[in-house]
Amino acid sequence: MFDNRVLNRFFNTLKGRIVFITILFLFILMLILSLFSVASFKYDKKIIVTTCDYTITSFVAEKINKDVQKHLTHAQTLSIIGDIFYHLYKTTDKNIFNTSTPLSALLTTFKDYKDVYGAGIFFEPGVIAPNDGVNYVYAFRKSPNVVLAGESVLGKKYNQSERPWYKDIKRNLRKGGNAWANPYKGLGQRSNTLMTSVGVGIYDGNKLVGIAMVDWDFSTILNKVLEIKPTPNSLVMLADIQQGTVMTSDAYFGDTVSRKIRLDEVSWYDMDLKNTDTFRYKNKTYIAFIKPVANGKSLYVCVPENELLGFIISQLVKMFIILFSISVLMSLSLFVVLKKNVNAPIDELSKAANEIGGGNLDLKVNIKTPLEFARFADVLNKMTDDIKKYIENIAVFSREKEKIESELNVARQIQYSVLPDDTFSDVKEFDIYASMDTAKEVGGDFYDYFFIDDKRFFFSIADVSGKGVPAALFMMTTKALIKSIADEKLPPDEFIKKVNKGVCADNRQEFFVTAFMGIVDITTGQITFINAGHNPPLVKKKSGKFAYLKLEANLVLGIMNNIEYKIQKSKLDEGDIIFAYTDGIVEAINNQGKLYGDERLLNKINSIKSDAPDVIVKEIKNDIKSFVQDAPPSDDVTMVVFKFNKTK
């Protein structure tokens, strides 16, 4: 079966649409032309009808008339001879009369009647009584050059009054007129010839005394009639209305031409046709052209309408076939042209695009024409080149990036290496555990702890504002600065003042550092807190819960020189825990953009069963991890947990 989808797909292509539009256009053109043809059809029909009417029928009728007229003229000439002879006979000696007198005159004229068979003057019985007993003269053309004349031709006993032609003429003759005989078979050697005669009367007063006649082969007329054949199935006939007879072509009646048919045998004849009329006969429409010929005879030419109009129709059909062929040809050539000029380049371009997509960037598309596709190919080639360059750039870039990353890794190792990893597990007085996780390779947080002397233990946690390499560099110098100043063993307030001075000294980048520090006398549990703008640590007194440590407010390090820092002193009891951290914990962000927050931190830290610093750090870290999930770390996360065990 026919698949609609194939057609749909075809009409959705450029090619299909253009071909469709072309066919549509040609179809509309054909429609307009056919409307025009229908309009012109009536006009064409009129022209053809006129052609049949005047050119064929009238022309033939005219020709026949002319022939008959010629014969009639001969007959009239003979009638004058006959008339003279009759009057001579009446007024002169009847004894001198014999047929040789009019015969010589007849022969003189007869020589010129080339297409006439015979001519004669026939007197009514008893009108004249010639001494030889013959009351007619007759000349007969045996062959073009041999003329026979006299009584020997017809014989002495020839009695014209019994002949049909004489009866026909005599019956129809009026004075001053002429009459035709119906066609009849000749005598003797002319028994196979259809003859006709035209006669002119010779009168004595009103009394017909004789007939001058000319006879000729009727087929000369009939042939002219039969020559009329506008279309194969036309009906042509010569009808004698007065006598009700008709001569016609054999095609119609299936008989010889010599057959006389009564008019009432012609079924359509009584339709009372006008000069040009249409009638139906045996399921066929005919157009009749009728012309009177002579002596009550009429020429009928009846052409089947479909044959008459067939010409016009066949012309139209031809035109349509030509137009249809043109549209098919145009569509086909358009199809071929589009296939070659549109489909082929598009195929080539898509193939190339596929191959380029597959990784072959050395591919060059080579299309010279059509120019539109050549431009497209140029663009594609340029794109390929650009991609190649871009890939090379990326390669260079990623090599650079790798280098930077590996350098950052080294930096990270250096940064981590400056953080203490000794947990002083051999010192029973306290446990300490710390951890730092940077958001990037390197970070701005740090912690530190060390013994200042035999009994004083220092620990710190700090956060350089900012992240990454700048913060890391600042962190390194700050940590080193704190360590070196701590070694000077200054009183805490002097110590922190000096640290701040040091941080301010080379700080052109507006960094500041928040720091929380503690100095514990491990023998007594006395502790000194120094807080420079850092978030307060959580402290758990023995058997209590973690709570924020109340701290004196001090400015962060690195902003202002020469400021005083308030120092706080306190005392640690056995089992007290200090949890110091940077705000990277509470500001850790998860995938939903939520912050870890103080509340969760407090809840979590109070839910941890163990008092061991390393356990606390690990549990908090795990909780942060499970909170942020796979969100990228937002800030460095650092914790220092100090647990005081006992005084010495």
């Binding site: 900012g466 507006e510 703008g533 400015l555 705000d583 962000i589 953009g593 800030d635």
Partner: protein, 101 residues
């Protein structure tokens, strides 16, 4: 954090809502810096903290940065600070660094 601002002849009034932290502070920094650099005659920068619930060290750092910039052009002020947030300014010592009213 929401960010609204009103720009008069030579003063920029920035009203913040919510938290000024690691997420919002860089955005605030970028936006205000853009306004400062595109309006050279600005000599007064006011931060309205009436709707601010928290400020982190990152927020403090950008305030400090604006403070340094405005010190050369005119003045910077933080107004309508809630007591909770003011605690943070106090804890970090920023209450002595910035001007409030």
């Amino acid at each position: 954090m929401n960010f609204e601002y009103a720009l008069n002849d030579n003063s920029l009034n920035v009203k913040l809502t919510g938290r000024v932290d690691v997420i919002s502070a860089p955005v605030l920094h970028e936006k205000v810096n853009f306004l400062l650099s595109s309006n050279e005659n600005l000599n007064k920068l006011i931060f309205d903290f009436s709707e601010v619930s928290y400020i982190s060290s990152m927020g403090l750092r950008i305030l400090l940065d604006f403070q340094k910039t405005m010190a050369q052009r005119g003045s910077m002020k933080v107004i309508n600070v809630s007591s909770d947030v003011f605690e943070i300014f106090k804890a970090t010592g920023f209450d002595n660094i910035l001007s409030f009213s």
